[in-house]
């Protein structure tokens, strides 16, 4: 079984619409972090949510975490063409040295 699985795998929306993607995981975590990756490029940190937090905001981003359901969601409001990228959730397990387990990602395409 895989830790940190995102859905949907792909999302295509118009500029101005909201984009929502989900991440599920299987084991206990310390925190969950969302990253963005533009095609062929590095990983850019978006937001970190701790296991004792339920919701967090950063600009146009809103992240929720439901530890009872072992799931998280990332909402991008008022999307822009520049938001086109792949989005990954990464979980940090308890009793780990902070290593990440990444999901397969959600590929978001925002068309003008």
């Amino acid at each position: 079984s895989q830790q940190g699985e995102e859905d949907p795998q792909a999302l295509s929306i118009q500029e101005g619409e909201n984009a929502t993607m989900n991440c599920s995981y299987k084991t206990s975590i310390n925190n969950l972090q969302w990253y963005r990756q533009n095609s062929g490029r590095g990983l850019v940190h978006l937001i970190l949510i701790r296991s004792n937090e339920r919701e967090k905001h950063s600009g146009r981003l809103r992240v929720t975490l439901d530890t009872s359901k072992k799931s998280s969601s990332l909402l991008i409001t008022a999307s822009r063409a520049a938001d086109t990228a792949s989005y990954f959730c990464a979980t940090v397990l308890t009793d780990s040295w902070g290593k990440f387990q990444f999901g397969a990602g959600t590929q978001v395409v925002v068309t003008p």
């Binding site: 925190n31 490029r41 590095g42 970190l48 990954f88 290593k99 990440f100 990444f102 397969a104």
Partner: protein
């Protein structure tokens, strides 16, 4: 703003050759990581490094791989005898100490192509 840097950005090598991928983590960070991403697949953990030794490694990180922090600045990943399936994007990451409640900063990656 401090950032993790990696060199080279792209490395092409012949199967069986040794490669060394270099990373300069953020200067006050204490934990260092290597990940890889095969084209079209998820990012996979390879190894974590703390206090000058490997703290954790994945099953991918076999005897062909080694890591080193030779001078307190650079953090290197060596692949002793590359295989075709080692072709991937390799990311270095670092984070501050103080528990795992903090973000990892990723470098831009090195694209390794094994021919």
């Amino acid at each position: 703003e401090p950032e993790v840097t990696q060199t080279p950005s792209h490395q092409v090598t012949q199967m069986g050759q040794e490669v060394i991928l270099r990373c300069v983590p953020i200067s006050n960070h204490l934990y260092f990581y290597w990940y890889r991403q095969i084209l079209g697949q998820k990012v996979e953990f390879l190894v974590s490094f703390y206090n000058n030794e490997i703290s954790e490694k994945s099953e991918i990180f076999d005897d062909q791989f080694s890591v080193e922090r030779p001078d307190g600045s650079n953090f290197t990943l060596k692949i002793r005898s590359t295989k075709l399936e080692d072709s991937a994007m390799y990311f270095c990451a670092s984070r501050k100490g103080g528990g795992s409640y903090n973000e990892q900063f990723f470098g831009p990656g090195t694209r390794l192509t094994v021919l």
